[in-house]
Structure formats: structure tokens, C-alpha cells
Symmetry: C2
Subunit: 313 residues, 2 copies
Amino acid sequence: MRVAALAGGVGGAKLAYGLARLLSPDALSVIVNTGDDVELFGLSISPDLDTVCYTLAGLANEETGWGQRDETWQAFSAVERLGGPAWFHLGDRDLGTHLERTRRLANGEPLSAITRDFCRAWGVRHPVFPMTDQAVRTRVMTVELGELSFQSYFVEQQCRPRVTGFRFEGVEASRPAPGVLEALGQADCIVVCPSNPWVSIDPILAIPGIRQAVAAKPVVAVSPIIGGKTVKGPAAKMYAELGIEPSASAVARHYRPWLTGFILDQVDNGLVNEIASWGIITKATDTLMTSLDQRERLAKEVIAFCEIIAERN
Amino acid sequence: MRVAALAGGVGGAKLAYGLARLLSPDALSVIVNTGDDVELFGLSISPDLDTVCYTLAGLANEETGWGQRDETWQAFSAVERLGGPAWFHLGDRDLGTHLERTRRLANGEPLSAITRDFCRAWGVRHPVFPMTDQAVRTRVMTVELGELSFQSYFVEQQCRPRVTGFRFEGVEASRPAPGVLEALGQADCIVVCPSNPWVSIDPILAIPGIRQAVAAKPVVAVSPIIGGKTVKGPAAKMYAELGIEPSASAVARHYRPWLTGFILDQVDNGLVNEIASWGIITKATDTLMTSLDQRERLAKEVIAFCEIIAERN
């Protein structure tokens, strides 16, 4: 079973970690959203890419959901002393990643090549791809503040403004990063991790060529919404503000045109029949990943489900 | 006695510190070389400016001569793990300075305004000016490697290549930073700190308007060369490679067209008559500043000498 996983930040990284414990490096690749990348203090920051890589490397800070564990904060204490903006905190070790990435990008190297080298240095053996080497930036349209960059919405405004829509700036001119279409083409099944459909998965699918490559394969998605809520992040709030009742059904409907199989949490067992009625093979299980073992257990169920789905196709 | 001091890095910062202990903030301003500023990892770094400000603030690392004391190195350990270039080490706290300066420069704020705010945050009460708000970059011509940026010569190559000359890129289009000409004009005496004449003082003098403003005043220079050697840095090596015997005399000759008074170390007492014969009032004393008290003692002698010089003019 060869799997290509699409992932955003924390939830996606957790499932990717579980999958990486069970699948060999030639049987799993992870394609990561870079729509929430941001340039701050002159540095090129790729939050989702780093969360996935740090998580796979065992370096992630499990408490915050971003940055590295055992982190120190000397640089940003100094920034604060100077009256600098404190809303986007970067740890000292994490800064090392951004410094070296920024240096290599300025040298003209593509993000995908830099990510491959960083993964090697961190001991990440499974291929991790940014969705694209071009700059694609998720813009969030809001009632209160108009259009915001994703990080301004997410970190600075703490997701408070009500969203009216999204835009992926630069997406028309972007191409899938080298290796992405090959990874999708070689996969027996695509796994859409429990990431935010609007701002983690949609940007990946918006890269010209990716949606078609995904739609050509059996696809299993795991719902990031459990009992109408998200474990982390604003996906449920976004659905509500866009006039859609937040639920696992809403997620399945979001992906419906190309979705083959859907995994939702057991608390949402009552939604299985509705989703199945759309021709989507649906399975309810415990989808919470609050421990490393739970990540592996869910990954095991996802792989078993992929095998069933792939066989039927 | 109002003093405007011209300074480069460590030696200049030490005398500036001594002067600042004796003169009130309205009686001392420090004009600092920015020719060795460098852009690395996307960050705008001003080594001499930071050395002077950190020293005046009591934050300087006295052992290394650069960066902050009680520094940590998490970010650059991370850069090294990623295989990044390790020749220019930046501490975590020091990074905070570069991050916030880079952010504000990118916002279009001038370096002089940023420096003023940083000084306020660090508790530096005496005005510190970058020589200019424009980018002026010292380029070092070498036998072995051709033209190098100053930091590439100084840090990466550790001053090993033999120099054949210097060039201050961008200097023609530069202007003195706001406040610099006023500080020079209001001074009773200009003090040229014991900094490298070639790469710390010459760049300041090369900014259009500064040399004339300096030459219009009594000027006292303190020799950075003691017994034919420098306490720190490549000034003596540079003189030798340019075919000039390194000595306090060579420094006085360097500044001769506009120099009024010269302070050299007591070990160079034998050179006093030669320099005096050029019409420069010359004084030998202990110029080593290996303790905070010695900085203040030398500063006291410099101020007393300035008073004599200024009275005669």
C-alpha cells in the first residue's frame, strides 16, 4: 500500500507521524500546505511544513502545536525589549530553521530542495514535499478587517474576525513542487489528513494539476471536525461563519466530488448513513490522537481502510 | 567641553564608554562606522553600531568583543545542524536586535531612527549615530581572493588575504545621517577613537560632508597601534601589506591633513618628536583599556587634552 498524504499543520502532522511509523519511506510521502507561509522580520517562515517535519523528526513541541520542544526564547525577549511586535513568537531553535531557509531561498534554491535537505539533517526518512516552490499565500476575507494574510488572521487576530471567504494569491502561476505529481501518481490511495479543509487542504488542491491528480485516485479523508467542533484551529468556526453547520458531514460534502472513503469520529456515528448515501464509503472510529500510540492506532485503521477502498476501485 | 567621537568597533566602543562616564548626554555624541554592515540570512546586521551600543549599555560581551554577554547559541546550533554556514555566529539575544532592525528597515524606517529607539530601550543616554542612513559597504581588495565584502574578509577569511586597497561602495550617493553634521558642528573637539583608520574611520570620513565638518574643528586622535601592533583587529597588518611600516606615526600621518592633537601609547614615546614636527600636538600616555577603570582614566586624559587643544585653536 503506497500512500500520499495531504497535510496542513498539527492534526495533519499527527496522522502523518502515525502513518510514518507503519509505512516505509518508499510507501509514504507527505504533501504539505504552504499557503500560510509568511515573511516576518526578513525571514521566510513555513509553519505547516515545519510542524510536519518537526513532528516526523520527533522535535515538535506537543504542547504549543508549533515550534520545537525544549525551546528557548532569548531572541524574542530581545525583540520585545526593543518594542517589536510580539504577536508572532519564534523560539531560538526554530529561528535557526528560518534563518537557514531564508539564506538558501535568497540563493535561488527551491523550497522543495531545502526541505529535502532539512529532513535529511533532522533524520526524517519519508519524503516531505511543499505543495509548490512558488509563493502561494492564503488570504482571509473578513467582515471586520477586510482581507488579511493568513498569519495575521490566525496569530495576530487569533481567528476572531468573521470570515467571508478565502483567496490563494499567486496560485494561478504556481506549479506542484518537483516530486508531488509523481508521489500522487504512484500512490495506491491518497489520504487527506484531519486538517482544515478551507485553509490547509483547499490551497493544496488549488495548485494547478493537483486536484486532477488526486481525483484520479482512491481518496480517503479523515474528518478534522468531531461532534461539530475541531480539536484545534478555526475550521468549525469558519464553516459556521460561511453559513454551513460545522460537522463531519460538512467536511465530506466539501470533498464530495472526488472523495472515495471517509473516516469520522465515533461520536458522529449518526452521520454515517447520510454521507454513505452520497456514495462515499464511510467508517466511524476513535479519531482523537492525544498520544503517540493513538496516532499509530488511527494510522493503522486508515491504512486498512485505504486497502479496502483501493481494492474496490 | 562638547565632544563628538568617531568610532568603529571594540577599541572605539571602549573609549566611547569611558567618555560617556565623564560627559553628560548633551556633551557627547558618538558617530559610528556602518561600512562593515552586512546582510546575512535575510537579516540586516550592523556590527560596529551594535558593539558601540551594547558597550554603552553595559550589555557587551567583553570576551569576544562582539555580541551580548550571557549569550546563548540555540539558533545557530540549529543552523549548523542544517549544514548552514557557520562562519558568522550570531547569539540568540543578538539575533533579536537584527530581527527587529530588519523588520523596521523593511518598513522604510531609517537606521538612525531605529538606533535612537534601540538606545532608549537599552538605556543608552548619549546620542549614537550611524554615519549614514544609506547603504555604504566597505569592500576589501585582496591579492589572493580579489574583492571581498568586509565581513567576508574579516570573519570568513579571518583577515588572512593580503590587502591591496579599499573601496566604500555606495558612498558617493550617501549623506550623513540626521544629527551627524549638527553633532560635529556643535562639538568643541572631535575625538577619533582608537579604531582601524582604514576600515573604521576612513568610511566615516568618506561620507560627503563629514571630512570637511571634522576638518573645521580641533581633532584629537588616539592611536590604535601600540608598539607597532594592534590590540585587536588587522590595522597593523593592513599598513604592512600596503607598504607602510605599522606604527603610531603611520596613524598620525594617515590623519595628518586635519589632525590637531594625537595621543599615542607611552611605549611609543620615541615617536612623539617626529609627529610633533608635523605641527601635531602629541602626547604619550598609557592607552591600553583592559579594565573599565582604564577606559575612564584614558577618557579623562583625552578630555583634558581636548581642552588644551580646543583652547589653543
